[in-house]
Every structure is written in structure tokens, then in C-alpha cells.
Symmetry: C2
Subunit: 355 residues, 2 copies
DNA sequence: TTGTACGCGTTATCAT
DNA sequence: ATGATAACGCGTACAA
């Protein structure tokens, strides 16, 4: 009774400043001469309402430009229309490009995507997890580090779809989108071999990294062993960052001053290696060739322009987001992951020793 | 009556699966033996409640791990708890760093920030504007290009707070956060002069750019004129990107092969200039010195490491976001903008000619 | 099939 | 200073 009066008064008020106000489910109901539940049904379960009314409602929705209020439905505990991208650092161009892929498909779905920069810090990761328990999100794209066991546990608690981008899980079957890192490492080695290099070194990522570390390392080794090139002790391990590339090249050069080519598992490490060489007045590529990995924006801007393995990083993000939405829409079938193709970008940092 | 019964039943239910459940304001209230209004006050306006009770409430909040439900408050106050960052491209490290500043303060406010990459494309900008008219946002940080007149018109329609980051508006008084670009250009010129350079060139941004273009150009000119160094026709104009730096250096070198130093209005253009020189076997910095602008992540990773003017870009983002939140909270007083300090980062790309 | 009314958690208003 | 309660917009159990 009292309730009803209030409601009417409320609607009455709203009519006045129309156009400014966002139409609600009530406005649509009135316009279409149905009840709010009918409107709600049309939106959420269209088949449950008679054709004729459905049309009326649909029309009213169009005319008034109705969009459900995400806070109201969020409060009621449904989808929040936002997904999360967990990445190490958006200021890293590699992840930034991936993010653009994610973002573009999210926009197509009229969805929001929230960035979480972990800075590779576990504490921050779990902080986010706690936050998500409150403020629900529909799904997660995880692109930070290899997926550790307790990270997985965190996801499990949330009980929402998670897909992996440029990484994968050994023990759990979460869908992932990535390239074939083993093959890519193999290809890098082969490229050097085909260019006549005999003594080849590598600056690898950490062996403990089951994605960008070990596979690239092993693919590379395989190519070398096949042609009986130098191997094993001509490999040094870094953390993908510039400084470890610089110092890694230093170690390598100390042990094997006769190296003619080096494969770095990231472009940043390749930059570091080149910096070391150039500061020692060792010419790249004439004396030592360098091949990188990632094809970041700046790899073409340095001197000499860097030959590198390109990951289709934008597409990885895009594909991962699409998989995620598939899963969100159809909660009970886990989508299958995908392998995307890498590509060798030939620029000027590798010399041909065959001639 | 009926109401009360329901409430009790509900709370009764909740007690059981505690630990799993997120505590609400009601749970805190009960625990602290106060009303929910008091709890709400403690959270939003602590000074309005007596010390003793406040402590009790605070303690209960700690113990139960209460966090306000953003959906509920969003529903109440019509704020969407999301702001928008309009930038050219998140894959550009300059904007990525700014974004991190924005994001970090947004997170403090338990807010979401949505990225809009315009790619410097007007069409995309207005697409976003249309989107915002539907799905409201609380405020905007604009960091894309100079603010054109019809962009401003777009904002006006939305009728929400907008603050400018690393840019400003000539005609409208939107708050902005930026450095003093004129002074920065002046400082760059002075640094070259103090290092004994006599014939100095510049690769500027477009003169039509009233922020990163003209002021840096004029500040630079002012320093040169003061000491009667070469000026005017030793300036060439680019678009801040790598390629224009490369070709710009080409033009400059064609006209003035005797130049000993060049100031580039962006690090990317500086990279381009260095690439041109190095490919001509002109040594940097021995034969030609280069100073850049921005201090992007990679400026220290090239050979030689780039001397440059550093914008506190993270802080610019952070400060802009804080201004925006001030404005959102207090809709009727436009906050005043801020000028932040730039800094000269001396590395190895400028030689000293005095000795 | 359709409509009514309650509850989600919070804040603001109004009494006290 | 504190407490009761309406209202925000939506979804859904239940009634019709």
C-alpha cells in the first residue's frame, strides 16, 4: 500500500526530466503496457514471453534506449559485464599489445576490462583475488608468469572462467592461447645455423619457467645438437629483462669469446646483449650476430634493427578474450585452447657466414 | 513487522556459513551493537560518531573483514565507480606509464578505469562518446592530442568532470596536469650550450601542437637566441614518431652538416635521429650529440644511453586522477590544475665540447 | 503466460 | 549523536 504509492510518485517524478534520466525497467514496462517482470524476461529469457508482447517490449527498449543497470543486477548477483586481465605490467609493451587485443574484443561485447598489474608480486595477486571475491567479475585472462599451484587455488575459489594467454598450466586444463615456444626456439637456432654460424650461444629465460624459459631453451638445444653445434655450456640464464641480457652476454663472452651468434629469449635481453657488445666495440652483426624474441615495438628502432621471432601478441590477446567469452556464455563446456603461429622477422642483426 | 521477521531470518541464515559469506553492514552493526546507520557513518564520515562507538565498529570491521559492497553503493548514488582514460595508444610506453599512475589511484578509490585507445582517430573518439552517453562513467581523463574544439563539445554533452593530463586547453578552463614545456625546451637548449655546442639543431613536434610542439620549440629557440647560437632554419618538424625523427635528421644533416648537437622533442624521434647518424657512421656523441624528451623505458637501453628530459609521467597520471576524484566528489568546484617538475637525465648521448 | 512484491547492501533523510 | 526506514534497479519465487 504505502509501497505502491511511493512507486507511483517515483515514476511520476521521473517522467519530467526524461531524456536526462536513464530509463529503467519500469519505464519500459509502462511504455509497453506490461509488467516489469515481463520486461526482465524479454531481456534475460526471451523465449519465455509471448511473441506479441516481446515485440512491444523490444520496441520500447529501442525507443527509450534502455540498458540494464549493471549495479542493480550486480547486487542481485549476476554478471557484471567486466572481465579482468591479470598481467605483470601494462607499461611493458609486450603486455600492452596483448591487452589491446583483449580490450578490442571486450568492447565488441560491450564489456569492460579491468587491468591488474601484478608486478610479478604474489602479494598483489592475492590482493586482487580478495577484491574479486567482493566485486565479482565474469572471467579472468591470466598472462602473468607461469601459473603457480596456489594461483590456481585462488582461481578455483572464485569459481569463474579463466583463460591463459601466452602461458599455460601443466597440471590443470585451463584453456590457453600461445605459440609453440619449443618450435620457435628451434627455428631461431636453425636460422643461425642456416646462416653458417658454428659457435652459437643463448641467453635463455629461467629454466624454471615452463613456458618462455624451458621450451625455448630446449627447442634451441635440439636444433644445435642436430647439427652438432656448440651447446649446453654456451647457454646462460636471465630473467627476460634488459640488465640480465647485458650481464648474460658478459658471462657468455667470458667463457666463449669465439661465439659468432647469440639467441636471446626476449628482445629486451637482446638489447642488453647488443649494448654489451657495442660497448666493447664488437660489431653487431659483423663479429657477433644477435637474434631476439618478441618483436617489441622498439626492436626495429635500434641499430642494427633486430632480427627476432615475432609472437602474434595482439591476436593472442584477442583470441584469449574470445575463448573467455565463449566460456562465460556457456558455463558448462570448457573451450579448447589454441596454438597460434610465430614468425621470423629478418632484419639486420644476423650476418650470413656462408659466403 | 513482517519486515523485521524477514530480516532476522536472513541474518539467522547467514550466521551459519560465516567465513564464506561476505559480511555486510548489518553484521557489523550487530556485532558492535549499533545501528547500520552508525556503521555507515563510521565508514563514510568517521568524525560524526562518538569515539567509543567508533572504536567498537572499527574493531568489528577488522574482525569480520568487512568491505562495502560497491554494487550497493553504486546503485544508491548513481556513480558507476568507473572513470575513463582517453589516450592515443596503451601500447605506447609513455601513455602506459601515465595509465599506471591513473590506475593506481583509481584502485585506491576502489574504482575501475576503462581504457580508450583513440589511435589519434576522431571517429573512434566520438564512438566512445556515444558509448559513454549510454553507459555512464563518473569522469574522464583526457590525454590524447591537444584538446580540439569539437572534442570539448563532446565532453560538454556528457556533463561530467574532465581533466587533462600532459596536455591543456587554450580556450576552456579544464584542469590540467603537465610540465612546463617551454621551460623544458629552454633547459634542453641550455644544456647543449653549456656543454660548448655552437651549432645546434632541433627536431620539433608539429608547430600546430600547442602543448608538446610549439612550447618546446619556442623554449628551445629562446635559449639559443640568448647565446646567439644557430637557430630558426636549423629546426625541422616531425610527428613525435620514430620515422619522422629519422627523416628529420636526414633533412637537418643535408642543410647543416656542421651541426654538433640536436634536440629531439621526443625520445622516439631521438632514436630515429640516432639511427640515421649511426647508419651514416657518424658517431654519437663524439661527432653529433643528441638529447631527447620523455625518458621512455628504452632510452637507457640503447647505445649510447640517451640523455633526455624526463616527464614525471606516472605522477602526471596519478595527479590527474586525484584531481578528477576531487571534482567528482565535489561537483560544483572545479579543481585547479598543477604543473609538475621535469628533470634532465644525463646519460651518454651528449658530449662536452668545452675541454 | 503474466504480474506482484520482496530482497540484494548501501546511503540519505528524517525523527528522536 | 543515533536509529529507523525509504529508495536505488533488478531478478525471481510465488501467486494468479
Amino acid at each position: 500500500m504505502k509501497y505502491n504509492k511511493k512507486k507511483n510518485k517515483c515514476n511520476g517524478n521521473r517522467e519530467r526530466d526524461y531524456g536526462l534520466m536513464n530509463p529503467t525497467i519500469h519505464d519500459i514496462a509502462k511504455r509497453a503496457n506490461v509488467s516489469i517482470s515481463t520486461v526482465s524476461r524479454v531481456v534475460n529469457n526471451p523465449l519465455a514471453v509471448r511473441e506479441e508482447k516481446r515485440q512491444r517490449v523490444l520496441e520500447a527498449i529501442k525507443e527509450l534506449g534502455y540498458e540494464p543497470n549493471p549495479f542493480a543486477s550486480g547486487l542481485r548477483d549476476r554478471l557484471t559485464k567486466t572481465i579482468v586481465a591479470i598481467i605483470p605490467d601494462i607499461a611493458n609493451p609486450f603486455y600492452a599489445s596483448m591487452f589491446r587485443g583483449i580490450e578490442d574484443t571486450a568492447r565488441e561485447q560491450r564489456n569492460n576490462v579491468m587491468i591488474c598489474n601484478t608486478d610479478r608480486n604474489e602479494e598483489r595477486f592475492f590482493e586482487y583475488m580478495r577484491y574479486f571475491k567482493k566485486k565479482k567479475v565474469d572471467g579472468i585472462i591470466f598472462a602473468s608468469d607461469p601459473l603457480k599451484e596456489h594461483y590456481y587455488k585462488g582461481f578455483e575459489e572464485l569459481n569463474i572462467p579463466v583463460v591463459l594467454a601466452a602461458t599455460k598450466s601443466e597440471d590443470h586444463l585451463l584453456p590457453y592461447v600461445k605459440i609453440d615456444d619449443y618450435q620457435a626456439g628451434y627455428d631461431a637456432g636453425m636460422f643461425l645455423i642456416r646462416n653458417g654460424h658454428k659457435r652459437i650461444g643463448m641467453i635463455s629465460g629461467p629454466k624454471s619457467d615452463p613456458i618462455a624459459g624451458q621450451p625455448r631453451y630446449e627447442g634451441f638445444l635440439a636444433s644445435l645438437k642436430k647439427y652438432e653445434r656448440l651447446a649446453d655450456d654456451s647457454v646462460v640464464f636471465g630473467d627476460f629483462q634488459y640488465d640480465s641480457g647485458y650481464s648474460g652476454m658478459g658471462k657468455l663472452y667470458g667463457k666463449h669469446p669465439d661465439l659468432t651468434a647469440v639467441f636471446a629469449a626476449s628482445d629486451e635481453m637482446a638489447l642488453g646483449a647488443m649494448a654489451f657488445l657495442q660497448r666493447r666495440n664488437i660489431d653487431v652483426p659483423r663479429q657477433v650476430s644477435v637474434i631476439g624474441f618478441d618483436n617489441i615495438r622498439f626492436s626495429r628502432m635500434i641499430t642494427p634493427p633486430l632480427t627476432t621471432i615475432s609472437q602474434p601478441i595482439y591476436e593472442i590477446g584477442k583470441e584469449a578474450a574470445m575463448l573467455l567469452y565463449d566460456w562465460i556464455e556457456n558455463r558448462d563446456t570448457i573451450p579448447k585452447g589454441k596454438q597460434l603461429q610465430h614468425e621470423l622477422i629478418v632484419r639486420d642483426s644476423v650476418s650470413n657466414r656462408n659466403t
